[in-house]
Amino acid sequence: MIDARGQSCPIPVVMVQNAVKKENHPSELQVKVDAKVCVENITRYAATVGYTVSVEEADGEYTLTLKK
């Protein structure tokens, strides 16, 4: 689980990008963020590297699950 809560734009996307590269395109990745803008940015990035994203929201925090 990548914890990108509180990180300002575009660091959450960089964290996901690094994880995708480091783990050589894993079949599943989870990211936690606390701003809607990060959900949008990560979702857009994930689509470019072939992932679909599902989002769960609880108490203003979002858990994104990226799947191949």
Partner: protein, 366 residues
């Protein structure tokens, strides 16, 4: 159209372009319908933080942009008081971003507006802005972070919007307390309430769309994501067409451009400072206002840093002066030696901040 382009970005870009042309037609300075750096500088002048007579007016646009963002983020339940991500560092970066912008004579938003008005000096600024973004992106890839924010009390989130509303109320009630330019850019302004209303609309849309001048190029370089860059392009096209329609477009040139100088090296370097600093901050000056409106205390501190940077820029004569005609002779403007030295100091400061907050110097945090 690519699914990755958010239509709100295109709409906001068009709105910003229309607002810039409209506010200029209603009295704002030429090619300065909307300029975050210039308007914060004018507010610094109006509130007696600097004494440069031509640039003093309490610009309602700044109040409106923040307020529009607050209204939209409250309505969409996105307003969240947060802070704690290296506020003092952000204050300093904000001040240098402002100094870089005033050396060039405009923030990234005015750079695009100047480009749409045919000012080729702004294209040199664009080159510098791009170089600055590339430097910032390099450090982002090396793990640069000013660390995370945390949720804080509501008062922190409302601090800047509240302060601006209070000051604007006092400005309307007792204008004589504030300084007003009698000539120069500060003496040119659209009717205050129209400026406020237009800026509230733009601020609301900018919050919704996340429009950001630096974000556009940064995302295009880092992620091949052209979403925000599309807003940048739309502003250029709308301002260009607006100027053509209103008969104000006289071709592309570096000479005799409104509030612009042709000392190209310093146009370039000023905007390198703006681009680099803005990437470290996570957004351009416009975006900082919008984030402050959403409750981000760090961005509010950044805006205050920009205000102080503007005051320093004029008190220490760091800001650029425009090309002018003196007794029929064209005089190239530019910046004084102090300004040149401070731009170079700015690079040194950004380099230290970039290095100390990236994995080039520190070990990656677990």
């Amino acid at each position: 159209m690519s699914k990755r382009i958010n239509p709100w970005v295109l709409i906001t870009g068009a709105l910003v372009g229309i607002a810039a042309v409209l506010l200029t037609a209603l009295g704002n300075p030429a090619n300065m319908g909307f300029c975050i750096a210039c308007f914060i500088r004018d507010i610094a002048g109006a509130t007696h933080l600097h004494f440069a007579a031509p640039v003093q007016y309490f610009r309602p646009e700044i109040v409106g942009l923040v307020l529009g963002s607050t209204i939209m983020s409250l309505a969409s339940k996105e307003f969240k008081a947060r802070a704690g991500s290296s506020p003092a560092t952000r204050f300093i970066i904000g001040a240098f971003v402002m100094i870089g912008a005033l050396v060039f004579l405009g923030c990234p938003l005015r750079m695009v507006i100047r480009m749409g008005g045919g000012d080729l000096n702004a294209f040199v600024g664009l080159a510098g802005f791009f170089i600055g973004i590339l430097i910032g992106v390099f450090f982002l890839k090396k793990g640069f972070s000013l660390k995370r924010t945390y949720e804080v009390t509501k008062t922190e989130g409302f601090a800047l919007p509240g302060l601006l509303i209070l000051l604007f109320g006092i400005f309307l009630a007792v204008p004589s307390l504030f300084a007003f330019s009698e000539s120069g850019p500060g003496s040119k302004y659209a009717p205050a309430l129209i400026s406020l209303l237009v800026a509230i609309v733009v601020g609301a849309f900018a919050q919704k769309s996340r429009l950001c001048m630096v974000g556009g190029m940064r995302d295009a370089v880092m992620f091949r994501d052209f979403n925000l860059l599309s807003g940048f392009a739309v502003i250029f096209v709308v301002v260009f067409l607006g100027n053509v329609i209103l008969g104000k477009f006289t071709g592309f040139s570096t000479i005799s451009q409104p509030i612009s100088h042709s000392s190209e090296l310093w146009n370039l370097l000023g905007m390198v400072l703006v681009g680099w600093g803005s990437v470290l901050l996570g957004g351009c000056p416009l975006r900082q206002l919008i984030l402050a409106g959403e409750g981000n205390g760090d961005s509010a501190v950044t805006v205050l840093g920009m205000l102080v940077g503007a005051a320093f820029a004029h008190n220490f004569k760091l800001a650029g002066s425009a090309d002018s005609l003196v007794d029929g002779v064209y005089k190239v403007g530019g910046i004084a030696t102090t300004g040149k030295v401070v731009v170079l100091i700015g690079f040194a400061v950004l380099l230290v901040i970039s290095l100390l907050n990236s994995t080039l110097v520190k070990k990656e945090a677990k």
